[in-house]
């Protein structure tokens, strides 16, 4: 492990990383937020969704002030039900990151598979897949995700809606972001499939699945990594937006977007901290993942620079 880190540090990418303060700062931020989300149950002073740990007398406690009735102290304040805002943020961060990562993973698997098939098989299959991609790309991803969410809501029985909401969200965002993966992998597959090593693999009697995934796919790894990072930022924003609009994570399992939606009602009456801290967390998450993606794109492939 240590030798791998040191070899990364010495490589070209490591060199570019060391020379970019923005990249280092973003990476630290992402790691901190990731750790905070992973270890939320151990870091937070309370489980905000266990009613037995809440005290209504703590409702609307401002940040960094001791509550005169209960003598409790909240770093980021408490919401209307006496929940510690810091704890709700870490639990919300968990949902936001989980939805974002799983949605990108789903879009990646779908896009890479379809792209490989389109590029390797070619012909009619290729044109059907890429035409679908073109049509989908004319519509904004957020609209498609909303539509899928709406349909799923209509299909799911009412008592299960809250439980499946998170999974529907993952599928909806994943289905709306597969196109960039498919395009870049298709391009790589079309270039690679006529090369000698693929021919050799064919002569050695390997099946199309092995050739596609073991011989062609590794050649497209670095653009896939770049697109995945940028997609992660977009997926986190999409999730937050949908939840904010009330068509995403339910109030029983709030993500950062849901927290902002709830906090906005209180901000108008002066309890700014219920809105401000979740919004700030989302901002830092979106900015750091995004700048990490930008840096990775420039470092791995300078020709992609916009």
């Amino acid at each position: 492990m240590i030798s791998r880190i040191s070899s990364f540090w010495a490589s070209d990418i490591g060199w570019s990383f060391r020379g970019s303060p923005v990249a280092i700062l973003s990476a630290i931020m992402v790691v901190v937020l990731l750790m905070a989300a992973l270890f939320a149950p151990w870091i937070t002073p309370q489980n905000p969704f266990d009613p037995s740990e809440l005290n209504l007398a703590n409702g609307f406690s401002p940040p960094l002030q001791e509550n005169p009735f209960t003598n409790d102290f909240f770093v980021f304040g408490a919401d209307n039900q006496g929940r510690d805002v810091f704890s709700t943020i870490l639990y919300g961060l968990r949902i936001s990151l989980m939805v974002g990562v799983l949605a990108v993973a789903f879009g990646l698997v779908l896009g890479v598979s379809l792209g490989l098939i389109a590029g390797y098989v070619g012909g009619r299959v290729d044109s059907i897949i890429m035409r679908t991609a073109d049509i989908q790309l004319t519509f904004p991803a957020i609209l498609i995700a909303m539509l899928i969410f709406g349909i799923a809501k209509g299909v799911a029985p009412i008592e299960y809606r809250d439980q499946v909401a998170i999974w529907v969200l993952i599928v909806a965002i994943g289905l709306s972001d597969w196109v960039p993966f498919a395009r870049v992998v298709r391009g790589a597959a079309m270039v690679q499939k006529n090369k000698d090593f693929v021919l050799a693999a064919k002569l050695a009697g390997q099946g199309p699945m092995t050739i596609m995934f073991r011989h062609i796919l590794p050649n497209a790894m670095s653009p896939i990594l770049v697109i995945a990072t940028i997609s992660l930022a977009l997926a986190i924003i999409a999730e937050a937006t949908l939840s904010f609009l009330g068509v995403g994570a339910p109030p029983t399992k709030p993500s950062l977007g849901t927290l902002i939606r709830v906090g906005q009602e209180f901000a108008l009456s002066g309890e700014w901290w219920i809105l401000f801290f979740p919004a700030l967390t989302l901002l830092m998450l979106a900015l750091s993942v995004n700048s990490l993606g930008d840096w990775l794109r420039d470092a791995l492939n300078p020709s992609l620079k916009s």
Binding site: F139, G154, S291
Partner: protein, 325 residues
């Protein structure tokens, strides 16, 4: 030209047919339309009558045909939630969205070109660099956060501008406009900034890139050599040559503005089509969802078609390749 046009038109119609199929399947298979329309106290006779009335007893393909025919005539059924024809509800909401989109588009275009030119001409100045950095951050911010920030600064803290709604509106024929009253115009400020900001940064970066390219050309140097005024060079010689890509990109963005209005309208409780769509999703009002989907697809497809035509008219190279497009 004709071949290219017909082929693109065919593609657009195909897309609309597919979207129509999606909308039809939503209407037909998500939930039971009869259950959704009739109340709790229905008799079997009511159900049978409704089934025939809606044509649900016919073959699926025939139903699809009837659905399309009605949609072309503007009949999208009745909203489950409001009990009124969907087309009526949409027509009532459309002016709010269109006025908002128009103002944001104009703002984005104007400030995008101004900032783009400035950052290109004075590219090493401190202000230009600050604008560029701010635009980078602006692109990665979620729209709804910008809206919330504006509300909390200008409506809650400073109490200068309203935080929600359209203000007073005036009715002219079937069109309600907020342009004619003071409160209507004031109410437009924050939502249109929120909606236009992202498009503005896009246009600004495009104008800047194009301007930098053009300013290096020989004819600009020649214009300097002729002793022309700086203003005349920047506007008449440089800007004019960057406008074609700017206009096409802005045109393409028009669809996105209408789609992203969903977010802005929810933040500001702006009574437009986007808010209607969000509410429709929350309450599973399928006819409204289907109608909005078809309407917005029509807008997108039309804009794409027009922009393609424009490219074709502007760029002669496309004509030589036999209109393969």
């Amino acid at each position: 030209m004709i071949v290219f046009f017909i082929r693109r038109l065919g593609q657009s119609l195909l897309v609309l047919l597919i979207v129509g199929l999606v909308a039809f399947s939503m209407f037909r298979f998500v939930g039971d339309p009869i259950n959704n329309m009739l109340g709790q106290e229905r008799t079997q006779a009511d159900v049978d009558r409704m089934r025939v009335e809606l044509g649900l007893d016919r073959a699926i393909l025939t139903q699809y045909g009837i659905f399309l025919k009605k949609a072309v005539q503007g009949d999208f059924g009745v909203s489950y939630r409001q009990g009124r024809p969907v087309i009526e509800v949409l027509a009532e909401r459309a002016p709010a969205t269109l006025e908002l989109a128009l103002v944001s588009g104009a703002l984005a275009l104007f400030f995008g070109i101004v900032f783009g030119m400035y950052t290109a001409i004075k590219r090493d100045s401190f202000i230009a660099k600050s604008i560029m950095t701010a635009s980078l951050i602006g692109v990665s911010l979620p729209t709804f956060l910008i809206g919330i920030a504006l509300i909390n600064i200008f409506a809650v803290k400073l109490e200068l501008l309203p935080s929600f709604g359209r203000g007073e509106t005036v009715k002219i024929g079937g069109w309600t406009t907020g342009f004619l009253t003071r409160s209507g115009l004031i109410a437009l400020i924050l939502p249109s900034i929120t909606l236009g900001l992202y498009q503005m940064t896009l246009i600004m970066r495009l104008v800047r890139a194009e301007m930098l390219e053009v300013l290096r050309q020989d004819y600009i140097r020649f214009a300097w050599a002729r002793g022309l005024k700086e203003r005349s060079i920047n506007f008449n010689h440089a800007l004019r040559n960057t406008l074609v890509p700017v206009i096409t990109v802005t045109g393409l963005q028009l669809g996105s503005i209408i789609a992203f209005a969903i977010i802005t309208e929810t933040v500001f409780q702006w009574p437009g089509m986007g808010l209607l769509f969000v509410n429709a999703i929350q309450f599973v009002d399928i006819p409204v969802m289907a109608a909005y989907l078809m309407l917005i697809s029509l807008v997108f497809v039309t804009i794409n078609l027009l922009v393609d035509m424009l490219y074709f008219a502007v760029d002669p190279r496309l004509r030589v390749s036999g209109g393969k497009g």
